[in-house]
Symmetry: C2
Subunit: 371 residues, 2 copies
């Protein structure tokens, strides 16, 4: 068995290397790339994704997985878990032609470039045709799989293995009216003062403060770095290279602060992965929801709590004394927790964030249904 396992790990290790390389190219595209570099980058990502797919869905990999599955049947150890996840991924990947993966990479790359332009010009029409193409490909992707209870199930399963659209609805449907009611109650009550959060804060000092916070969270800078990008995200190149991005917005210091804490939450999860899982399908989070549980814990349960600010506020206030003149820690704490409907999910407060997610699910389902 050990020989087959080693051979499978070798093959999956190469697939992982190509995927990680694609992640580096994707990170660079969001963080560094010069304006005209996108087209070639899209082509490079297409080639890498296609090759990773081709190398994953070979008969050799499939045969090794089958053999090891029966040999490890019922075992409760890391290798058995790795085979279980590899088998699941293999069965799904086998249905998707590598040429489709390549096309999707090119389309996504062009869409990203258009999104950046649309965003900076506040002009959705620049992005719209690209979004339509993205959605078209997503629906084509669904068509490669046997019909599910709902076409969105196929997509959801890539992020939450085994979860059905109906399961999510069963959670969201009863929550939603209560959440709406709660938000209405809060927003109709006397509003907390938060004007001091809509002022210009020095970018470097703000980012330095975020760095100080996540260092205390335990983010390991010898195994990661933070850069600026239009959209905050976390990306993993190895357990020893887990990077995050943050963003800066004029007159919105919390966009930087809570993005940094949120992405650091993802990064702490990834930096904590067992190094023995490196280059295997286990070397990442269990699911997107578990990942978000980590990011939102550090952002909200920790970062928006009173004890947190009782510790950090004195130095924060000292750094931004003119903006926070006369503002005590409790007033600050209330302001950063102010509930107010807004357009941008990643900047939303803890209560309306949930509605963003619910709305996004509905939009995504509608797009997949074409309704």
């Amino acid at each position: 068995m050990s020989e087959k396992l080693n051979q499978l790990k070798k093959l999956l290790g190469e697939v992982s290397d190509i995927g990680r390389a694609a992640s580096v190219l994707g990170w660079d595209q969001q963080v560094n790339i010069p304006p005209k570099g996108h087209e070639a980058r899209g082509q490079q990502l297409a080639t890498l994704s296609k090759i990773a797919q081709e190398k994953f869905i070979t008969d050799e990999v499939g045969g090794l997985i089958e053999d090891l599955k029966s040999e490890l049947n019922g075992a409760d150890n890391d290798d058995a878990a790795m085979i279980r996840v590899a088998s699941r991924n293999y069965d799904k990947a086998k249905r998707v032609p590598p040429s489709f993966i390549a096309e999707q990479a090119v389309v996504s790359s062009k869409a990203f470039e258009a999104w950046m332009e649309a965003r900076s010009k506040s002009d959705f029409s620049i992005f719209q045709p690209h979004l339509e193409k993205v959605v078209e490909l997503v629906r084509k992707y669904v068509s490669f799989f046997p019909p599910a209870d709902h076409p969105y199930d196929t997509l959801l399963d890539d992020y939450e293995p085994g979860m059905k659209t109906a399961d999510v609805k069963a959670i969201f449907d009863p929550l939603r009216p209560k959440q709406v009611e709660l938000i209405k109650a809060i927003t109709s009550a006397k509003q907390v003062k938060a004007d001091f959060l809509f002022k210009k804060y020095n970018e470097k000092k703000l980012i330095d403060f975020g760095v100080d916070v996540i260092t205390k969270y335990g983010y390991d800078w010898s195994r990661g770095r933070q850069d600026k990008a239009p959209h905050p995200f976390e990306t993993t190149f190895s357990v020893d290279d887990v990077r995050i991005t943050t963003r800066f917005e004029d007159d919105n210091p919390t966009a930087t602060l809570f993005s940094t804490m949120h992405e650091a939450g993802h990064a702490l999860y990834e930096q904590g992965v067992n190094p023995a899982y490196e280059r295997t399908p286990l070397a990442s989070g269990t699911s997107l929801a578990v990942h978000e549980s980590q990011s939102r814990m550090w952002e909200n349960l920790v970062g928006r709590s009173l004890p947190f600010w009782e510790h950090f506020y004195p130095s924060f206030k000292k750094t931004f004394s003119s903006q926070l003149d006369g503002v005590g820690v409790k007033a600050f704490y209330k302001a950063i927790n102010k509930v107010e409907p807004s357009l941008i999910r990643v900047n939303a407060d803890e209560a309306t964030y949930n509605l963003h997610i619910m709305l996004r699910l509905e939009l995504e389902i509608a797009m997949v249904e074409g309704s």
Copy 2:
């Protein structure tokens, strides 16, 4: 023919994509990577290099090249040139096992990490065992090829197609004594004053000045960017993404200035490549010597000339008025051209630089010979 040509271009395009992706990973490793990220990066580079090699030396690629060679025989056009270069590269690559390429990538990556540490600690012993391994692999590489007049010929040919070690010696041997004589004559004459070049210059202002200079050279920032790295270099991800790095040294402003100009020279060459050559073996410089002719032209013939500084010195002096107090343009011009033997090639003046190159050739030949 067109169908075969298209198929070959498609296959070579994928090989090029993988190579460019590896360049992105290499750039990131020199510019951004966190301290512990090197090991996984070496593995990723090994996998990419191995796959690029495997995809290049297939029988299909070889067959297409052979067919197209006879069909295009004697033609004087870009396609014929592409086939000529592809054929040359193919015949060489075919001799080198992909597993060797992978091993070399891992060894180089570890050596680079060790070099950085050795450099920052000024301790050669950290780098020595890695250098020995690098040299061992270089000699193994040579062994894959039929014996040449000199083992160094095989290596030289990768950078200067068709050039022999004896050819280089025939150029260097008569030049060397004259160059030594020239340098002796200069260094025994009355020395020019250059103490104002060994002061602290503000890093950001210095880099900004370099940016201004190479913008006027014609470096296109929409198709490139400049970052800081321990060693200055130029790297190409596509004709629309040609990046350079520079470095900053305390008390040595010219290290930054002339590195920037030198690398911009390489970049101007690469940004000027015909976009029609993209993703083919023609999409890069003709040879390393031609490349250096461009970089050194912009660094020396332009950047160390009196007319250049007659244009730029007023603003430079205004920016660094305290360092350059009482220094006129002619004195500055003489100082940046001061000839003085030094240890670091990339910081060397125009006259001693040539000796660095000659010495380096001798060292490399000695290492390959094991003498």
